[in-house]
């Protein structure tokens, strides 16, 4: 990214941040997205993805395409109905980072089973490359242990049309992996021992998907998240073996299997 573009983005973020302070309507997702209150089950909130230099009508179509793509990936998978994800589009909402997610707001969203909020920017192509920045907030993750805010910047060769970027975005396993981590943590917190088994399966699946998305050399926040997921798997195995309320199969696992999970970098 050039310094000019960074400065431009910073100015825009500053302007939006000021607006967010002044305009209470931008304060939270619930204020904008009524579906958060009406859709039952686990939710992924999709805010606007800003496509640079795209007319408003085309932008609407691109968002519609992205919602269809993501909806088909997230909602049609053969999970049991009770644990299925629901995509909640939130048109017009553009969070401004952590400032848009004060702890009380997050707690309220978590009680409504919001697992993840996503928004981002697709920048104007430059020098044969195009930058895409996507922000994720994994609501149920504890801020004192792991940073639930994650920004991923993807640089890719310029493609012929913005909708190819949309297709490319929707092809990621990442979004469902972040939601899966959130679901596991939410279920452990809200249900306790009865949720250990499905939470463990979620964490194992998420670890695999994140490992694939980040490649051999994860950096900074990626490494932190991977370590967190590993640590949660380890902690869950240990908790399952000591929690008298839990009577599931993890009690049977030999110490060596627990050690292998906990030895892969996740023991906390």
């Amino acid at each position: 990214m050039t310094s000019g573009r960074i400065a431009g983005r910073a100015l825009r973020l500053l302007a939006v941040a000021i607006a967010a302070l002044v305009l209470p309507t931008l304060a939270s997702a619930q204020a904008v997205c009524a579906d958060i209150n009406s859709v039952p089950g686990f939710k992924i909130v999709l805010d606007d993805i800003q496509f640079a230099a795209t007319p408003p009508d085309d932008q609407k179509l691109l968002m519609q395409l992205l919602i269809s793509h993501l909806g088909s990936r997230l909602e049609d998978l053969p999970d049991p109905a009770s644990s299925r994800y629901h995509l909640v589009p939130c048109p017009g909402r553009i969070p401004v980072g952590e400032a848009s997610f004060p702890p009380l707001t997050v707690r309220d969203l978590v009680t409504r089973d919001v697992l993840l909020e996503v928004w981002g920017d697709v920048f104007r192509p430059s020098g044969g490359k195009q930058l895409v920045a996507i922000n994720y907030v994994m609501m149920p993750l504890p801020r004192d242990t792991v940073n639930p805010f994650l920004q991923r910047q993807y640089e890719r060769k310029v493609v012929s049309s913005p909708d190819e970027v949309v297709e490319w975005l929707a092809g990621f396993d990442e979004i469902s992996a972040y939601a899966t981590v959130g679901r596991a943590i939410r279920m452990i917190d809200s249900q306790g021992a009865p949720a250990y088994d499905s939470a463990k399966a979620d964490l194992a699946r998420a670890a695999q998907a994140l490992g694939r998305a980040y490649g051999a050399h994860p950096v900074g926040a990626q490494k932190q998240l991977l370590d967190y997921v590993d640590a949660q798997q380890c902690a869950l195995l240990q908790r399952a073996r000591s929690d008298v309320a839990y009577k599931g199969t993890m009690r049977l696992l030999p110490q060596a299997t627990v050690d292998r999970t906990c030895g892969s970098g996740g023991n906390q």
């Binding site: 085309d58 179509l61 793509h69 297709e167 399966a201 195995l237 009577k247 049977l252 696992l253």
Partner: protein, 452 residues
């Protein structure tokens, strides 16, 4: 008697009166779906839903219907060498054509508690932005009955049975980018494919397919011959002719643009081989699956590729009469599948049971107890709700501690008979999702043939 019941009676009687040809096609409404009930494998193709706009997503789209039509005839041609098969195209609005609901209606009308027939359902979505189109397909396969327990391999092990399952039987393929020119070509090709010719030659005289079904007859036909890209069909009315079945998009085969159709062909082949193992069908099915696996990585994502490899492994076992060589090849394929989806407990479990059985049947070999148990534990750790892996692990412990099989296992020094007995007992006390577990394996609808 309702109109629908009358229709079903007429359809059933007509089916019984017609010669039992081994492959067939049909167009049927989602609101009152029909089928050929005795067919060993049926592929149902639903209209693709056009999500271009709110309105089109709620109506029966032309391009979605045409695409389904091309897929149906192309699939019928592809699977016609696989024995008793049918490819049926569903018609209706997205609301009417919900795959799960249509399947429930079909089972209610034509199913039986002991049906062993296989079905494959294909559905999808079309998205359009500016002049660009996207096609995303889904496939699901099962036996034609309520509460199908799923496909399984059953291997005898010390008086008990080890069971392996597929990683998944419902697949979401990645979206495919197609152009608006492709859209026009799909329509044009469907217009061509919808003409029944006198000879397998586009220059010969022809008439629209639906004219073969006068007086609201059920639009069902039987495939009596294939020649190149053409299929010869005969309707209940006695009329016959040739349909151009090989679907093309421009100069490319439809299956090149949508390689997931090769997966569908492979699944149909798997069901066919399960019904009647034969090397020719096995070769066709394996080739289709291999073609799918070698397609673009965006289409062949890890889970579909893993399932494809597992199906190839099962086909190899059946066609190879479960010989030592077949178990060697299949075990390698199952292991590859497990590496593709390392957190998938079913994939890990299938790889473990196949490798264990491969070694077990060699009476000279000793089994590494700890390594094998650890592979089962890994599957259970990945998904503590997987009762198949849990029961296999329990079976493994019981056989390993049995005096009858002393010498077949190599134990670490620290493991004694008492430890094994205590562990085997502990299995009986666990719960899954808060409920007690019966350590009994589920039975597949079609029992896996006993290995030699």
């Amino acid at each position: 008697m309702t109109l629908r019941h009358r229709w079903l009676v007429v359809a059933s009687v007509s089916f019984c009166l017609l010669p039992r040809l081994s492959y067939a096609g049909m167009m049927t409404p989602c609101s009152a779906p029909s089928m050929f009930p005795g067919t060993a494998v049926t592929v149902f193709v639903f209209p693709y839903v056009d999500h271009t706009s709110v309105e089109s997503a709620q109506s029966e789209s032309v391009v979605g219907t045409d695409l389904a039509g091309l897929i149906q005839t192309d699939t019928l041609l592809a699977i016609s060498r696989m024995g008793s098969v049918a490819a049926i195209r569903l018609l209706g609005t997205p609301r009417q054509c919900q795959p799960a609901q249509v399947l429930a209606d079909l089972i209610s009308a034509f199913g039986s508690r002991d049906s062993r027939n296989g079905i494959v359902m294909v559905w999808g979505r079309i998205f359009k932005v500016d002049n660009e189109l996207y096609v995303q397909s889904y496939a699901s396969f099962q036996r034609f009955r309520v509460q199908d327990p799923g496909e399984m391999i059953e291997l005898p092990f010390g008086g008990s049975t080890l069971v392996g399952r597929l990683a998944s039987q419902t697949i979401a393929f990645a979206p495919r980018h197609v152009s608006s020119a492709d859209l026009e070509q799909i329509k044009a090709r469907y217009a061509q494919a919808n003409i029944v010719h006198d000879r397998p030659d586009e220059a010969s005289a022809g008439k629209p397919l639906l004219t073969m079904f006068p007086n609201a007859q059920r639009p069902a036909y039987y495939l009596t011959e294939t020649r190149g890209d053409w299929i010869h069909i005969r309707a209940q009315s006695g009329q016959d002719g040739w349909l151009l079945a090989r679907a093309m998009v421009g100069d490319e085969l439809l299956t090149s643009r949508l390689p997931e159709m090769k997966f569908v062909e492979g699944v149909a082949g798997y069901f066919s081989v399960r019904a009647s193992p034969g090397e020719a069908t096995a070769a066709i099915a394996s080739k289709a699956l291999t073609t799918f696996e070698e397609g673009p990585s965006s289409v062949a994502a890890d889970e579909p590729r893993a399932v494809s490899k597992q199906l190839r492994g099962l086909i190899r076992l059946l066609a190879g009469q479960q010989s030592d060589a077949a178990f060697g090849d299949a075990s390698a394929l199952f292991a590859e599948a497990a590496r593709l989806v390392p957190s998938n407990a079913a994939a890990g479990n299938l790889a473990t049971v196949a490798a264990l059985y491969r070694d077990w049947r060699n009476r000279e070999a000793t089994i590494d107890f700890e390594a094998t148990a650890n592979r089962f534990w890994e599957s259970i750790g990945n998904d503590p709700t997987d009762q198949t892996a849990l029961t296999n692990c329990w079976t493994f412990f019981n056989v390993a501690r049995s005096a009858e099989f002393e010498g077949r296992f190599r134990f670490p020094d620290k493991v004694g008979v008492n430890e094994l007995a205590a562990k085997a007992q502990a299995f009986k006390t666990v719960e899954v999702n808060g409920k007690s577990v019966a350590l009994v394996q589920a039975k597949p609808v079609v029992p896996w043939p006993q290995p030699q």
